[in-house]
């Protein structure tokens, strides 16, 4: 792997379930992220897709060290974050920033744009209070906002503009890696395209690495170099974005791709769609063997046995024991 900036090795994030009030005891575990190994190269956009509840947001929070890891390591530029103390993590936080899904909830409604963007700069001592105005103006221009709106509050902006403010806040400390958790899901199509363009321009201009989480495969295909597909806390397919989405190999990726409605009536009405039965199973009691087997159209006895490992197949990594048999 040439020049990885962020490496995850067998990362696991489990949440205990407690029951009882007087006698509290642990009755189960939610295995939100269960053994994820992947790496992100410098300047690369890695897409992370999956249905709700598959653990993609928990993985994002685990990388950010916002939730404690149960096992495995997160390494940022050779520094092991999972073993670091709170102070050590604080020292590298500026290299690792996050953009959240809902720009209505992730900005403080009582802080002006100036206050929001100047705070990280001042806390990390990147500039003096006197220089802050100039720095903030520069940041605003970077994300396509006019600096004259500096003293306005979040409610005075539209959803797309608010997401621009959130991106500017993440960029304030010139990070090396940005984790964007569904940054365009709450926006309209025409605004979505503006934010996607902005993100890909910025990654190129600043040589940023971006982990882009989404459930919309067409968006992911457009912005990402590589894509990882998650199902129930594990990666089931990982490879070049175009390859994985145009020629999916794992039965789950195939179903996911086929579920996207195509905006063309002739294609849409004539194609065969794989409609998966049921809902994703619960990560509290994941099915034995391959977690996808109860919904998989190709499942056989062998799939109930062991958890399939990621193996190299057709130029990408896939976790399915029946590859090439269907």
């Amino acid at each position: 792997m040439p020049d990885p900036i962020l490496e995850l090795q067998d990362v696991r994030t489990h949440f205990p379930i407690h029951e009882g009030f007087v006698i509290r005891r642990q009755t189960g575990t939610v295995k939100a992220v269960d053994g994820v190994t992947l790496s992100v190269r410098r300047g690369e956009v890695l897409g992370l897709v999956g249905e709700s509840g598959c653990g993609k947001s928990t993985l994002a929070r685990t990388i950010m060290q916002l939730v404690p890891t149960t096992g495995g390591t997160v390494i940022l530029e050779g520094k092991n974050l999972t073993a670091g103390s709170a102070a050590e993590i604080r020292n590298v936080r500026h290299d690792l920033q996050m953009v959240f899904q809902d720009p209505f909830a992730s900005l403080n409604p009582r802080m002006t744009v100036f206050a929001t963007l100047a705070e990280p700069l001042l806390v990390h001592g990147r500039c003096t209070a006197a220089e802050a105005t100039r720095e903030v103006a520069e940041l605003m221009q970077l994300v396509g906002l006019a600096p004259r709106f500096m003293q306005k509050y979040p409610h005075e902006f539209s959803g797309g503009q608010r997401q621009r403010i959130a991106i500017a806040r993440a960029l304030a400390l010139r990070p090396k890696v940005i984790i964007a958790d569904e940054p365009v899901s709450a926006l309209d199509v025409s605004i979505q395209a503006q934010i996607l363009n902005l993100l890909s321009q910025l990654t190129r201009k600043m040589n940023l690495s971006l982990v882009f989480i989404a459930h919309d495969l067409s968006v992911v295909k457009h912005i990402s170099d590589r894509v990882a597909v998650m199902y129930l806390g594990k990666i089931v397919e990982l490879g070049s974005a175009v390859e994985v989405i145009e020629h999916p190999q794992h039965p789950y990726t195939r179903a996911l791709v086929s579920a996207i409605p195509v905006p063309d009536p002739d294609i849409e009405r004539n194609r065969r769609r794989i409609v998966l039965p049921g809902d994703p199973p619960s990560p509290i009691n994941p099915p034995a063997g391959c977690a996808f087997h109860p919904r998989c159209p190709h499942a056989k006895e062998v799939c109930r046995g062991a958890v399939p490992p990621l193996v190299t197949h057709a130029g990408r990594e896939v976790a399915c024991v029946r590859l090439g048999e269907f």
């Binding site: 919309d216 457009h222 195509v262």
Partner: protein, 324 residues
Amino acid sequence: MPLLSVKDLRTYFHTRNGIYRAVDGVSFDLDRGETLGIVGESGSGKSVTCYSLMGLIPQPPGRIESGTALFDGVDLLRATPAQTRAIRGKRIAMIFQDPMTSLNPYLRISEQLIEPLLIHEKLSKTEAMRRGLAMLEAVGINDAAKRIRYYPHEFSGGMRQRVMIAMALITKPEILIADEPTTALDVTVQAQILELIKKMQQELGMAVIFITHDLGVVSGLCDRVQVMYAGRIVETSGTRELFREPRHPYTRALQHSIPSLQAKGSELFTIPGMPPDLSKPLAGCAFAARCPQAADRCRQETPQLAPWKPGHQQACLRVQAGEI
């Protein structure tokens, strides 16, 4: 004669910051058994149009300023409370975007599901329960006899949307209004729900008004599509024609901004700017400020929806004049 005929509907909201023209002169017909898609971005008035028909606009601040909506001889906009009660939930039913908030968390599914039957068809409770069970099975809920006793929180999002659909269809309505019913769901579950709506429509022969912002969903489901922008219809035609030959610059721009239709690596096409503030008076075409082909005339004259071809209407002055 169309099943539902809406003429010049105007719904304004009188707020402290001015009069917000959410729906500003919308006219359309809906035929028996037809599926009509209403497409537009947030704030384009697609939901308010349907809420107005259902009498669900909070008044004040909302007010229906003008228009008629004839359904079987009754003007839905001026119906008496008794007339509304006889139609709403019985002959015209609605499902909503968020199945988490549109079910009552304190009531078992059974009670919510059979309520329309007890009210509209005056069935006995046993008879209603029998119909309710059959309906739950029809929408694909396994083990319905047990699950009908569940509370909403015991279901997943997709299952709750199935329950919502069962509730809406239990009285065999003539029109189903679906307000972004799959927006809050995962793609795999969305595919299940769209299949279900198609299946139920074939079985019951009802007309469907499907509100969405996703052109992909429209392409597989709807017979006819109308595109809304800033409270008005800018283009309406058969689905196939709309995708093959969109005439209005906004429809074209909307189609171009879908990421899956664009080459990877290139800059995504975007519509510059934002939709207009509907509380400010608007001269000319509402899209003129963002339109790459706008002429001076577009900022002065207000365009009207006019036939372009049989069954295809659009509201662009320059297209109507044959200039573009």
